[in-house]
Amino acid sequence: MSAKGYIALLLFVLLGFAGVWRLQERIDVQQSAVASEDDQVMLRSSKLVKGLSLEYAPLVADIYWTRVVQYFGNKHAGQQLDLRLLWPLLDVTSVLDPHLMPVYHFGSMFLSDAAPRGAGRPDLAAELLERGLKANPDEWRLYYDLGFVYYFDMKDYPKASAAFYEGSKNPKALFWMKMMAAKIATEGDSTETSNFLWQDIYNTTTDASVKENALTHLQLLRTQEDCKHIDVAADEYQKQFGRRPVRMNELVLGGLLLGEPVDPLGYPYVLSEAGKAEISAESPLKKKAAKMPGSK
């Protein structure tokens, strides 16, 4: 082939691929319309999938787990609240490979978090973790996750305490799990306990999104504590001056606060019409607080 022939061939290929690129972008638009159909999991029977997977069940489990992550991630990115398929997918994955730990750890998070962050099904999260513990009784971390779900999402403090206690029996478990079990059994819900648990997650997790979530919870816990203190000061102000304060600097001028308090992101707290402290509407934490009902 002559040099001209090579150049012509190269040009044809380049122009051809440019055409393919443009065409692909248009096809993507059309495909998204066709693909936005109802989500489907054709094979929901975990036993059937396991049978069909032959000796490759662990590999199929990995594929299913990837699909769980894609499904959850896409729904999350698209702000879609309907996570109906999360449980069937996790169910099949955990049966295919009962020893795949991320399925229990992250799967329980996806399931238990309240909408819009998760599926809002802590009951299924607990079921998944119980299943994980049955298959992996030596995994103390699953007890930790289970205690977490019972404590934060189900507010079932006796069960949370029991989960932490069971986990603490494992010699590899975190040293504080037994103390936590006792503390929850005695006090139930407390800011101190919540703070400790979130701080531990923040310190130990290697996953960026989990770390960010833990940080948000820690920041929101601090705002709750700050607001409580400001409200106490406002009550005192009312006793001294016979009316609720309208602005924060009134509390400072009245000598009840040393300075105008700010939230963990540096935005000053504000007083509501009822004279109660709250996060400023300008603070990004306000939106985050709205997304995490009962963030404690």
């Binding site: 690129w21 065409l23 692909q24 059309q30 159909e37």
Partner: protein, 258 residues
Amino acid sequence: MTRVGTVALNTFREAVRDRVLYNLVFFALVMMASAILVGQISIGIEQIVIVSLGLSAISIIGLLISVFIGVGLVSKEIDKRTLYALLAKPLRRWEFILGKFAGLALTLTVNTAAMAAGLFLALFYVKHSIERADTAVLVAVYFILLKLALVVALAMLFSCFTTPLLAILFTAGLYLAGLFVHEMRGLQGGLIDPALGRLLRWVSYVLPNFENFDVMGAAAHGRIIPATLVAQNTFYAVLYCAIVLTVAAAVFSQRNLK
């Protein structure tokens, strides 16, 4: 073009004479029968199961034919030394490549049509009618055919410069990669290095996107597939095949056959 047609017709005849094809069609019929059986033991989703299984069978069998026979189209002629007799005639190498491609595409069309007829018979057996919504199944079959044409073109390209075994591996590898193009594009947003993300995005547009032809879910649920998508996918397959076959013809023209 008469010479291309002659090569195509002979390729078709040769493929039809090949007993492997009959075995595969037999396999397809067995799949259809199992579709009916599975349909009967699954409550409420008989039609979905039959369409999904039937389309899957058509796709898998078509892929086997495309890859194995597509790779053999050129290499077999070289091994048997029949290519020398052919090229001694007034036949250009690109005409040979195009003719072989057209011949196998024709074979695949006939086979796919036969299997699609079997699928519609199975559907009719279950539903006792064929509705307008079932045209989506027909579109899905057409998309499978487009996909197979693309696979044949790739198989032929690889068989022009490497051994049959490697050509099969390359084609199968590219096919698998082409099924994950969407995921490749989605691997961004902090998950991987941004530079790698950009590179993958580029690669994703250059790779043959076999996901374009996947409308099995929509067909199973009787959803309308837009005519625009049919036209775009047709144009995509034609354009991509043209690029691949041009490169294949260029490579084959340069190949020393002595």
